[in-house]
Structures are given as C-alpha cells and as structure tokens.
C-alpha cells in the first residue's frame, strides 16, 4: 500500500480545494548505482486542509525527507508536489523562498529562533522579511493563545525551552500560512512543555482552521493529530484517523513485530 490519497472534497474554505498539499509518485533518491539509497519510493499523499496530520515511522523511514520535500526545503528526484494549486517541484530557489516565506510556517526540533532578536521580533520575522505589516489583531490573538504576552521583549537565551518552542509556534501561526510543518517540534521538551505546545497546535487547528503537518516518533504527540500516516522504507504503509496514544503505540508495536518476523 503506497497510497494515502483521500477523495477530494470541497469544503467551505473560500472555494479552495480541501487538499492543502499533495504529492504524486514522489521519489527521492541519493547517490547512484550500487550506493543508491531511496528515501522516498513513489509516495502519493494528500494533506487535508484544516487538519492536523502526523507522519510517523522509524528512523530512516523517510518521514523527515517527506516533510522537507512537501515544504519546499528539499528537491525531489521525480514526481510532483502541489501546494494548493501551485506545483512546487521544479520551482527555482527564488520562487521557493518566496513560497516558504508567504505560504508556509515552520517549527523545528531545536534552534528555531534567532538569538539576536527578541521574542516579538522573532515572531514577526517572516513578515518583516517579506516587508509586510503583521495583522495587529491576529498577532495579539496568537500571542495570547500561546501565552507569551509578558515575554515579548525577552531574548531567546532568557526563555526556557518550552517558551522558545511556543515562540516558534507563534511565529509559524502569525503569518497565517496555508500550512505549517513541524519537525519533531516537541522532541527537545519534557512531557509537560511538550503537551503545552501540542495543545496550542491542536487549538490552532480547531479554532483557527490551521493546516498542520508534523513529523514525530512520539505516540503521545501523534495522538493530538486528526490523522497519522506511517512510513517505512520510503513508503506509506498505513494510516489511522482519530488516533489515541494507545492505538498508535499498538500499531507501532504491530509494525515492529511484523518487521521482526518477516
């Protein structure tokens, strides 16, 4: 099973398609000949708009590569990726940069913030770079949602790890991107701070209608998502809707066992 395509539905989001991003027959390979390694093997995937999607899989399964390709950070060997109606495969660096700046938000595992800028400046950085004025009302709402109102003038070094990730979430939300990609955004946090950040992400989907794709290997983190995609050896091997930590864990144990017996 190498496909996780949902039937396109037209939702109520201003005439836009219900699919925020889609990948078709995406191959990502490194090297050539004997040493050729295939990280993504003809992957088809649709990311539903307004949903929280988690991508899971063991190390080396290609989950990060898939996210990087969907986000326009990495190039594909073959296949197509569309962000809404825009095909991003084949775009030149200039256009890709603009696309990332205007339509995508990022939350990385660590080192999300520029040490020279304070929290507020970090939050508005993508808009500053684009030369756009942030929407004041929206910004206030985002800052309040992530609970940083009294920390805006602090430099990253003066914030705790959890606070830093919340700033990163706020930055990703502030520009109202079409889609936010998170690369193990809670990987460096303890469970309480992690839960806080995941809670914000969940709320931004529910209350703000945000589309989020998150790579993780933590079943608890995955349980915040609407849908979980499982990757193994560069292919999508399974998917699960409305996951809970237990069901995710069970499914993973299942894969592990299958991996051992086969």
């Amino acid at each position: 099973m190498t496909s996780a395509v949902t039937i396109p539905r037209h939702g109520g989001t201003g005439g836009r398609t219900a699919v925020a991003a889609r990948a078709r027959q995406v191959v990502k390979a490194y090297g050539a000949g004997e040493t050729r390694v295939v990280a993504l093997d003809h992957v088809d995937v649709d990311i539903a708009r307004g949903q929280f999607t988690a991508i899971m899989g063991p190390s080396g399964s290609g989950k990060s590569t898939l996210m990087h390709c969907l986000a326009g950070l990495d190039t594909v060997t073959s296949g197509q990726i569309h962000l809404d109606d825009t095909e991003i495969t084949g775009l030149k660096d200039k256009k890709l940069t603009k696309l990332r700046r205007d339509r995508i938000g990022f939350i990385f595992q660590a080192f999300n913030l520029l040490p020279t800028l304070n929290a507020l400046e970090n939050i508005t950085l993508p808009m500053d770079i684009a030369g756009r004025k942030p929407d004041k009302e929206w910004l206030r709402r985002v800052v309040e949602t992530v609970g940083l109102a009294d920390r805006l003038k602090h430099r990253p070094t003066q914030l705790s790890g959890g606070q830093q990730q919340r700033v990163a979430v706020a930055r990703a939300l502030a520009a109202r991107p079409e889609i936010i990609f998170g690369d193990e955004p809670t990987g460096n946090l303890d469970s309480r701070a992690g839960a806080e950040v995941l809670g914000f992400l969940r709320r931004s989907v529910d209350e703000l209608g945000q589309t989020i794709v998150m790579v993780t290997h933590d079943p608890v983190a995955a349980s915040y998502a609407d849908r979980v995609l499982y990757l193994a050896d560069g292919r999508i091997v399974d998917e699960m809707f409305k996951p809970t930590a237990d069901t995710v864990l069970d499914r993973m144990k299942d894969f592990d066992a299958r991996g051992r017996t086969s």
Partner: protein, 859 residues
C-alpha cells in the same frame, strides 16, 4: 603526544579557516624578507659596481670628496695639474697611471633639448674615456670618441632615449655648452644601477667640463705585479706629499658604498617599519581567528577537559596549532619575499634603475629572521585565545553550545582602556601645548602609542555605541535585514572591535599623514602669499646649481623689473662669544632679495644686511651667540678669505621659507672668494614689470628652453609643485600602508567567513522561513560595511587627532596652518564602505550557497 595529535588534526581539519590568517602571516613575513633581500641585492649590485670601477689607487684633488665625486659649488670639478701624472708614474710599484676628467655637475640634452638625465635620481656623469672604464665597459657599436666632435653614451641611456650613432648631444656645464655627435655606444659588463654616462676624449672633456686643458680630476693608478694597494698608496703618497688625496680601491669603494648604504638603510628601515605595522594588524587577525576557533570548539574542549585533559594541555594544543600556522605562513612568506624583491627590482627597472636578478642576494639571516618573526608573532597572538581555551570548564561539554555567548566586555577592560586613552589624550595635549620641540615630539610619540592602545582596548565598548549610531543612520533604511546586520555586528563586540581596530591602525596613519601633509602645503602656501614679493622662481629640481649662462639668459628676458641671484655656501664663523662654528651656512643674495622675500626682522632693517661687509643673522642664532645689532662676526668663507662682517639685521627664526638663513650681499662674498671658486646660484628670482607677468612667464620659459635642467615657476605653479611633491611622498607612504590595510581587509573577510560558518544553523533557519539569497547576502554585506565603517571612523578620528597635534607641535617650526583634507578623509570613509562590501563578497556568496537542509541539520 596526544596534544600534538589533536593539534595537528584540528589544524588540518580547519585549514580553510586558518587560510586567511596564514595569508596575513605570509604577507607580513614576505614584506620583511622582500625588503631584506631587495636591499641586500642593491648592496651587492653597488658593491660589485664600485669594486669593478675603482682602480687600484686613485689620486684626486684635495677638494674632492672621499667617493671621488667631482662636484663643487662653482660647478667645476676640483682639478690638479697634469704634471701629477708624471710624478705618480715615478713612484715605486706603479705599473701605469692615467689622468682622467669627470664631472657630475653637468646636464646632457639631445637635439630636441630634452634632458638625458635619469629620472631615478641617479647621477649624470660626463668624463674622459680611459683604460679604467674600458675594463668595465664594452663598446657595442661605433667607436670611442676620438675628437672634439664625438661623444660616447652608455647603452641603457641610449636605449631609454632612443639614441643612435650620429645623433647630436649637448653637454651643458658651468663652463658652457659643448655639442658633439654620438660616435659609439658602450655597455657595462657589470650591472649599472642607472647612472647616465657619457664619454668624451680627454682633451675635449677638459675643455667642456673644466674650461682648461692640462688638468685632471683623478689619476687612476695601476699596481705592478706583486704590489698591494696599500703599499702602492704609500709609495704614491711619498711621491706626491699631502697635497692630494690618495685612496686605495677598497677605500674608494667603501666610501661610495657608505653613501649608498646610508640611503639604502633609510629605505630599509622605513619599509621594515611598514612591515611592522602589517604585523601589528596581522596580530588582530590571528587573535580573532583563534578566538573564534576556540569559541566554536567550546564543547569539544569541554569534552577534552571532562575526560581528563589538563588546562595546560588544552592551552598547549591551541599554541601548537598557532605554531603550525606560523611555520606554514612564514615559510611561504620567505618564498614570497624573494618574489617581492624580484618585483621591486622590476619596478626599479621601470623607473630606470637596472638591477640584475643574477645579483639576487638572500643572506642566510633573511629566512631565519622571517621564520622567527612569523612564528613568534603568531604564537604570541594566539596566546590570549589559548588561555581562554584553557579556562573552558568541563561543564561546557554538557551545555548546549549553540552560538557562543555574547562576551560582555568587562569593566576592567573599560577602565584600563579609558585610563590609557585618557593618558594618551593628555600626552597629545601636552605635545600641542609645549614650546619645546624636542619635548613635544616625545609627548606626541607617547600620546600616539597610548591613544592607539587605549582605542584598541575600548574598541569593543566603542563598537557597541558606534555600530548603533551607524545602524541608526545607515541600516534602518534596509528594514529587518539591516536590523539583523546591526545585531550581528553587535553580538560579539570583542570580535567586531578587534576586526575594526585592525583597519583602524592603517587608516589612522593615513589620516594623520594626510592632515600633516595638507597642513604643510597650506602653511607653505599661506606664507608664500604673505612673504614672497617676486613673480618667478628658477631652480633645478635635481639640486644642480644654475650656470652663469642660464642666469644670463634669464637676465636678458625683456619685461623683467628685477632679477635676484641667490647662492649658498659655508663658512667658519667666529662669533662675539668667542666660539668658532665650522662649516656653517651663509646665504649670499642680491639686495633685492629683501623685497623678494619679506622676512620679518626683530631688530634692524634687512636691507642694511646687504651693505658692504654686512650680514644678518636669525634670532635664535643671535641669542645663542650673544649677537646684537652692530656685533662683528669673523667669517672665513669656504675657498676664500676671512671677512669681518657687521650684523645689521636680526631676522625672525619663525617661518617655513628660508627661516634661519644668514644673509649677506653677493658682492661681499665676491670680495673674499676668488672668482674661480665663486659658488653658482642655487636659485634665481625674477619679477616682471607691472602688468607684464604673463608675457614675462612665457619669455622666461622660452629663454630656459635650452636648459631643461632648470624650471621656472610662478607662484601658482610653485605652490602646485610643492603640493605635488608632498602628494607624491604621501602617495608613496599610502602605498606602503596599503599592505597593512590589505591585511586588515583580510581580517574583515576572515571574521565574516568564520561568522558565517558559526551561524550556519541560523542562516539555515532564516532561509527556511523565507529569507531570500539576496537578502541574506545583503545582510552579510551590511554587517561587513558596518564593521569597516566602525574601523574607519575610529581610525580617521584618531589619525586626525594625531595629525592636528603634530601640526600644533610643528607650528614651532612654522607649520602655522592646520588644514584637514576633508576630501581625503571623506574619500577614505566612503572607500571603507566599499572595502566592506568587497570583503563580504566571498563570505556572502558562500552563505548564499549553503544548502538550507544541511544548514538546519548542522550540529
């Protein structure tokens, strides 16, 4: 051993990051070695030349200098009668003796009246063709001069001026002008560094150079087999008595060599001084490199400490890396130094000074000095960062390193810096306020050193303030990119400070010298305007005196109200206080000189100094020797009798022009010095009748057309010439300072390049969230510009302070006007911005090329 191994590995792992430091070491060492090799080579060349051209024993007239130079104030070489040759031949051990005539007080022009003299400052020599010269020269075409219509020229000069057989040349001396056609061209068999040499037959040389036959300037004596030079000298001296100067080949060569060496050593030490400045600048670069490498490696060092490395070991491992860097840089530098020397020789060649690479002299001390200097400086510079590395705690291994913490400049640093700067400022103040020149220069020197060190120490603190101001003025208009550039320049003030300080040093010197230079020009112009009452100044730019024929040509020009002759000589003074002053200068001029130069007097009327048997002295001289108006001074003129002159005016010792001259009338000089020994004019001043200046200027120029060695200038042109002269000197110095500035620019490149490496993740993050390549490159360029402007601002400020102080001090010597050359200063400031842009080219390009994913993934 482990220390060595980790050092080696680190060194090679980071060789890219070390490259620019190595280049800095390389450049400095290369400049030192290049200077040494070049001056040694020049010495070798002249050694060979003098050894080859000196005959076993040379006899010359009493008045000749030890070098056998044949110049004198009256433009005719000192001579001896031909009978001396016969006497020398009679001496024991003499194989041969030949009389020769030479003069360097000559100018040779071609048919188009263009001077054949070398532009390099090397002499023009005209002499009789003799067997001694035949030893070192080979006639390559034509034949030696055989009659009065023939002249032979050296091949280099012939080449340079496209002279061929049959061309007409004119020899202009104090005696007159002699015309002849080229009969032959002779080439040196040794390297001739650039003198233009012409040969006549002996009789013609006597007539053309001395104005009489039967006289020689030198007798070249050849020793018989088995007779040593000192023995021969003894024998010849015994025959001639003490009436003539007798020198062995070695003595002549040594005297010549001494002349050259004194010039060469000035050049050598000046160039080594500039190399020293480059080294100083290089130190900043090395300190920065190692500081950044240590900072980037903090975790690694922490791990080393955690697993049991001692502080000393960590410390040493950094120093060993510095040692490796020093060795690599120095070895390459020594090699490059030889290249620089060859380049300098080629450059000299293009200016008419021919040096042969076969004479290239690399003394064993040169590479040794280069290596030691390079290695010691590098290791010393790395000492501070090494100590900092030693202090890294084992805990650093466990901490999340990320970007190194913003090293807050400590309070002690601020205090020390302020104290030093304050002390420097106070010294400078003392220098500007003092009345004693000697004391003042000591204060000035101290002030410069202290303020420089002070600025270096508080550089990091100033960086904060200056960068913020620059940021507010320049960067804000570039929006968030500008803001980030400003923050980046500010995040490590010590680094920015050191990088800027390196640039500061070179630019401070540029600013200081340009202030002093333009103040000189302004002061001189100012004084010219105030005191000079004549229209035209005639002089030789090569320092030759003006022949009577040329003076007559000037006097014959129509439309002139007056012509003033001006000549200097020396005399032994016996002053009223009973002191005897040997070889003291005295100026003899026409009385109209008192009108041509309105020198201020403190007592008496300057015009009276031109009365018969009268003179003037300047204030300081009068005070030192108890001279008052009416005092009598016994003046024994050189080559003349003793006169008892009455002091009738005392002039002010202040001023730039002719300050400190003691004047008397030319007719007074003529009374005591025989006509044959009368010195020629140094300068001639001409003043046009009212309203006829332009016509007179043209007429003067055409009157002097036949004498290309002399230039006539009106006041405007004179000022321009003065300006050009100082400008040339400044350009030469700027050229040498360029080395230090290049090293400083490498420092900016280095800092940026290492910063970019250090900020790999940050750059990746910014690229990921949408910073375009152009914006990224612009950010790095702006950071670079800000650092460069910071250095420029500090340097120019400091340098202008030094320059203004120097002017205040030199005001005692007549440098009354302070002129800040704003165009230069602003030009340098704006230029620094471009230097910053240039320095950022490669770092920005590399940052832009970074793969976003790799940048994010970098640990």
């Amino acid at each position: 051993m482990t220390v060595m191994k980790t050092s080696m590995r680190n060194f090679f792992a980071h060789k890219g990051r070390m490259a620019l430091s190595a280049v800095a070491v390389l450049l400095s060492v290369a400049f030192v070695c290049g200077t040494l090799v070049f001056t040694d080579t020049m010495n070798t060349t002249f050694d060979k030349l003098f050894a080859a051209t000196s005959s076993d024993v040379t006899v010359s007239a009493k008045g000749a200098s030890d070098t056998g130079a044949t110049t004198s104030d009256n433009g005719r070489p000192p001579v001896m009668p031909a009978s001396v040759v016969g006497k020398v031949r009679a001496a024991a051990g003499v194989k041969a003796a030949e009389g020769t005539v030479f003069s360097t007080s000559v100018t040779v022009v071609n048919a188009g009246k263009d001077s054949m003299s070398p532009s390099s400052g090397a002499p023009t020599i005209v002499g009789s063709w003799n067997s001694n010269d035949a030893r070192t020269m080979k006639i390559t075409s034509g034949a030696a001069p055989g009659n009065s219509g023939q002249i032979m020229v050296d091949a280099d000069t012939a080449d340079k001026h496209h002279l061929k057989l049959g061309d007409e040349l004119a020899v202009i001396s104090a005696v007159g002008t002699h015309t002849a056609k080229i009969s032959g061209i002779a080439d040196f068999t040794v390297t001739n560094p650039g003198a233009a040499i012409f040969y006549l037959d002996t009789r013609t040389a006597q007539q053309a150079l001395v104005g009489q036959t039967g006289v020689f300037t030198n007798v070249n004596v050849t020793a018989a087999a088995g007779v040593t030079d000192p023995q021969l000298k003894k024998n010849v001296t015994a025959e001639l008595g003490s009436a003539y100067k007798v020198q062995t080949a070695k003595e002549t060569a040594d005297a010549n060599q001494k002349d050259v060496e004194s010039f060469l050593s000035v050049m050598k030490y000046a160039m080594l001084g500039f190399a020293g400045i480059a080294f100083l600048v290089g130190i900043f670069l090395i300190i920065n490199t190692f500081s950044m490498l240590v900072a980037q490696r903090t975790r690694e060092i922490g791990l080393m400490r955690a697993v049991g490395s001692s502080r000393g070991q960590v410390n040493r491992s950094v120093l060993v890396e510095a040692l490796l860097l020093g060795v690599v840089g120095s070895v390459l530098g020594v090699g490059a130094g030889v290249g620089i020397a060859v380049g300098l020789m080629k450059l000299m060649g293009s200016m008419g000074m021919h040096l042969s690479t076969s004479d290239l002299t690399v003394a064993w001390t040169t590479p040794v000095i280069g290596l030691i200097l390079g290695v010691v400086v590098t290791v010393l510079a790395a000492y501070l960062p090494a100590r900092r590395a030693g202090r890294v705690s084992p805990m650093a291994a466990l901490r999340d390193a990320g970007a190194p913490a913003d090293a807050r400049a400590g309070r002690i640093r601020a205090l020390v810096g302020l104290v030093l700067t304050g002390a420097g400022g106070y010294s400078l103040y003392l220098a500007s306020a003092t009345e004693k020149a000697k004391e003042g220069s000591a204060w000035l020197g101290l002030g410069i050193v202290l303020s420089l060190i002070g600025f270096v120490v508080i550089g990091p603190l100033l960086a904060g303030a200056v960068v913020r101001v620059l940021g507010a003025v320049l960067l804000r208009m570039f929006g968030p990119v500008g803001r980030m550039a400003e923050r980046n320049a500010l995040r490590n003030p010590r680094r920015t400070g050191a990088t800027g300080a390196a640039l500061m040093i070179g630019l401070a010197l540029v600013a200081c010298l340009s202030v002093v230079g333009s103040s000189m020009v302004a002061s001189a112009s100012d004084q010219l305007d105030k005191t000079v009452g004549t229209d035209f100044i005639i002089q030789s730019d090569s320092g030759q005196r003006i022949t009577p024929q040329a003076v007559k040509a000037v006097k014959d020009v129509p439309g002139l109200a007056r012509v003033t002759e001006y000549r200097t000589t020396t005399a032994d003074y016996t002053t009223p206080d009973g002191e005897t002053l040997k070889d003291t200068d005295i100026t003899a001029a026409d009385p109209t000189y008192a009108t041509d130069l309105r020198t201020k007097t403190v007592a008496g009327d300057l015009k009276d100094a031109y009365l018969p048997d009268s003179m003037s002295v300047h204030d300081k001289f009068a005070k030192a020797h108890g001279i008052r108006l009416g005092s009598k001074i016994a003046v024994k003129f050189k080559d003349g009798r003793t006169a008892h002159l009455t002091v009738r005016a005392i002039t002010s010792s202040d001023g730039l022009i002719d300050a400190g001259s003691k004047y008397t009338n030319i007719t007074t000089l003529a009374k005591y010095v025989p006509a044959a020994k009368m010195p020629l004019d140094d300068l001639v001043f001409a003043t046009a009748k009212d309203g006829r200046q332009d016509a007179a200027y043209t007429a003067l120029k055409s009157a002097l057309h036949d004498y290309p060695q002399y230039t006539v200038r009106d006041q405007t042109d004179y000022k321009q010439a003065l300006k050009d002269q100082i400008g040339q000197l400044l350009n030469l110095i700027y050229g040498l300072l360029a080395l230090a500035i290049i090293v400083a620019v490498l420092g900016v490149v280095n800092t940026l390049a290492l910063s970019v490496v250090e900020r790999t993740r940050e750059i990746g993050l910014m690229r990921a969230i949408g910073l375009s390549r152009r914006q990224l490159r612009r950010m790095i360029r702006m950071e670079s510009v800000v650092i460069a402007l910071f250095g420029a601002l500090l340097g120019l400020g400091l340098g202008m302070g030094w320059g203004a102080t120097a002017q205040k001090l030199l005001a005692l010597q007549g440098l009354k006007v302070l002129e800040i050359p704003w165009p230069t200063i602003i030009g340098v400031f704006v230029g620094s911005a471009f230097v910053g842009l240039f320095a950022a080219l490669i770092p920005a390009f590399r940052a832009g090329r970074m793969n976003v994913l790799n940048a994010i993934a970098t640990d």
